[in-house]
Symmetry: C2
Subunit: 467 residues, 2 copies
């Protein structure tokens, strides 16, 4: 039997692609650089866990690499297959199995798009707090595999803190049922948290049990401009003293202006000319009085730091307008710089945010290239994004970028931070792992990988270096 | 060189015991049954990480078992050595290294007693929320090794959710520096969370970085009696709807009365005769108005459920009196039943708490033996504690208890729960692991253990079964 026949036997002809245009879609994720693309030999679409088990047994027998994929929205190449391997796409395992309003938990298949899960929770007054900013396109399984963060992690934490249980298929095709509908569990090792964030290299999630919380009823946004980066990030420290704000996002002035100009006229914000850095501050509360109390305090902190309010409002329209601008930033960098940009995801201790942002400003001069600086200032996680200067040749860019990233990563390490807060290592950062992890640390990771995946068939080349 | 000389070379003569009465203290922890005790050949007291590294290298060379120990307050035998092995006690690594008020983090050695850490945080208005009820005697390193819970986990979560970083010595004597002072980190596998709760079988913690939070300034307690268990646990569901209460503890009527009578007269509560179940409800808030608002609502819920308030107060004296009674319960079971009791730690989904408590009531009749039922009702975690009836012989008890535990564990599993929420598997529950974990799940745990500890020298016999 050839590959197609073997996979057809497991998945049926309707759930297996082995040629043509549709295969092309699975060559790459949102990593941003087409050079990473690899054509798989096949894409399969399981609808049942047992098919995933059979796939992994077959993969071990034949030595075929399997790469799991959710929405394909990852930003580090974690869902890019090995050439000639198989992509296991979870897009047809898209059922919300149970909304358990008594336990405040939801049981879901991995292929559910995040915003669809949230929409299903809304009528019950519930909220899935651990989601990333790509909520309209990313899948829950991918969020868990990456331990996604996002715009509200500063208040609510990352995806990992909401996952209570999972059904996982191991690289060798065993089914593990980890955790469950319980708020505490110390029965054996925490395999669940080991699997979460392992970027699809230690197991394939086939079912998830997720904790949800009462939906905040009142939400307001404050969007403010500051004379410079320094005053903006110093304001972040003051803002965090007021209350647990649900978002504290930073965007540098040039990037804010360019992204704003790129939006349809009706969506644009009116930005003060003098501002060279912006903060998007969001507050959510369970009652309206507390909400306006906190927003007032935040506004006072903004003004005290020399900032000017661009937009303040608790009706959805203000909130949406500010978020639209913030969310458009990565798309703007992509549109302007094409594959010649690198969206980074460094994270530093909160107290080192001013030092990191000052360093990012210096990067622009040193490498004579634009660097967009934006991200989750409240938790020290910044998407510093170098982009090729128009004057730079593609060759120059290719030789500059590894040097720039090495320097950035080393600086972040020296500030007590690390190279990825929420996007992961994927295929993009494995070569830089030794900047932040010792040989002992990487070796323990490789030993665990080998213990679970002795034939190295599950998502090889992702998350770990070769050693 | 004999064992003593070898260890002396690493630790110096003052930091190594190989004979005499002081050795006896390290035969057992707080597991409650002397039958588990094992005499180690030596106890060593590192003061530096490098000594722990040398110890583990030596252990691998000589095939000697090493058991890490913090306060020795574990309740499942996780700190009990192998006969002839070495206990590595962290009691002299007891320095609080840094209270970082800017990042809201603390860096500490593992041997710091939990309440001492909290006392050091208090002047800074900070609070270490992830601590167990044995805070006056347990050490921070042990809390982390066990992923301790406790009376306030219902609001604040368990220890694991506060640990951001750790220095860990692996079983083969490598130093890992995992995580750090950052609020997000997806750089490689989550070895930190794998180590946490692994009961000292995958590594020895030599330094911890812990997140702390602003200290709640207002705290009040409501202690209430209910006509029966059912009305008390049904009230728990209502109480949890009001707000995030910092504690919702349950104690059955007989246990409450007996423990109360056992206290010095000046410490006793006046208990209503009609009550057959009690709840200790604690509320903490950052302002006093909100506090009394929540306590009022809680009192209304208690009364609506048929309960009567025994004690209500926000001054420390009321709070201390109620907690004194609650904390005395395990000591009362120990005093009354000696080694012929078994303090359990089962956990079920919150919605299954009424079913669990009803089942525990039935256990008393079925096994004709007293069963104390108390614990953290708010998160479904109960210390169901069978005690030998006076009429029962020690032989009868020994033959009944494994049967009783197997039945309890199976029931808990069928309710969607598990056999330990915060105390761990230790040496006590390894033989029961197969009731709640499949062979695949246990096998993956053993493979990870073997990958990190190929010679099986670190805390053998704890947490995992033999397979």
């Amino acid at each position: 039997m050839n590959l197609e026949q073997q996979l057809c036997e497991i998945f049926g002809p309707d759930a297996c692609i082995t040629e043509g245009k549709r295969l092309e879609r699975y060559r790459i994720d949102q990593v941003g650089d087409e050079a990473y693309a690899q054509l798989p030999a096949a894409v399969v679409f399981p609808t049942h866990t047992e098919q995933v088990v059979r796939l992994m047994r077959w993969a071990n027998q034949t030595g075929t690499a399997v790469t799991p994929r959710g929405g394909g929205t990852g930003l580090a190449g974690g869902a890019i297959p090995v050439a000639g391997g198989v992509v296991c796409s979870f897009e047809r395992m898209d059922q919300i199995i149970e909304i358990d309003t008594e336990n405040l938990m939801v049981v879901t298949q991995p292929g559910v798009v995040t915003s669809r899960l949230d929409a299903a929770l809304q009528p019950h007054g519930l909220f899935f707090a651990g989601y990333p900013m790509s909520e309209d396109i990313c899948c829950v399984g991918g969020n868990v595999a990456e331990n996604a963060g996002g715009g509200r992690a500063v208040k609510y934490g990352t995806t990992a803190s909401y996952v209570l249980g999972a059904e996982v298929v191991t690289p060798t095709g065993e089914i593990l049922r980890l955790g469950g509908k319980r708020l505490k569990d110390v029965t054996g090792y925490n395999l669940l948290q080991l699997m979460i964030g392992s970027e699809g290299t230690l197991g394939l999630f086939t079912e998830l049990t997720i904790r949800v919380i009462p939906r905040p009823v009142a939400r307001a946004v404050l969007f403010a401009g500051f004379p410079d980066s320094r005053s903006a990030v110093e304001c972040v420290t003051e803002l965090k003293r007021i209350s647990a704000l649900s978002s504290v996002e930073f965007i540098d002035g040039r990037t804010t202006r360019a992204t704003n100009a790129d939006l349809p006229a009706s969506d644009r914000c009116r930005l003060p000319d003098s501002a060279d850095a912006f903060l998007l501050i969001e507050v959510d509360e369970t009652d309206a009085a507390q909400l306006s109390h906190v927003v007032d305090a935040a506004e006072r902190a903004v003004v005290a730091a020399g900032g000017a309010v661009v937009l303040r409002g608790s009706e959805p329209r203000s909130s949406e307008r500010a978020w639209k601008l913030r969310k458009a930033v990565p798309w703007w960098t992509k549109r302007v710089a094409g594959r010649w940009h690198s969206m980074e995801d460094v994270v530093v201790p909160p107290a080192q945010v001013p030092a990191l942002v000052a360093y990012a400003d210096r990067l622009r001069t040193r490498y004579a290239t634009p660097v967009a600086v934006f991200g989750h200032a409240g938790d020290g996680n910044f998407h510093i994004t170098p982009m090729k200067a128009q004057s730079m040749s593609e060759e120059q860019w290719s030789s500059v970028i590894p040097q720039l990233l090495s320097e950035l990563y080393l600086t972040v390490h020296q500030l007590g931070g690390t190279i990825s807060g929420e996007h992961g290592i994927g295929r993009k950062r494995t070569r830089y792992l030794d900047i932040v992890l010792s040989e002992s640390e990487r070796s323990v990771m490789r030993r665990i990988k080998h213990a679970l995946d002795p034939n190295g068939v599950l998502n090889p080349g992702v998350a770990l270096d070769e050693g």
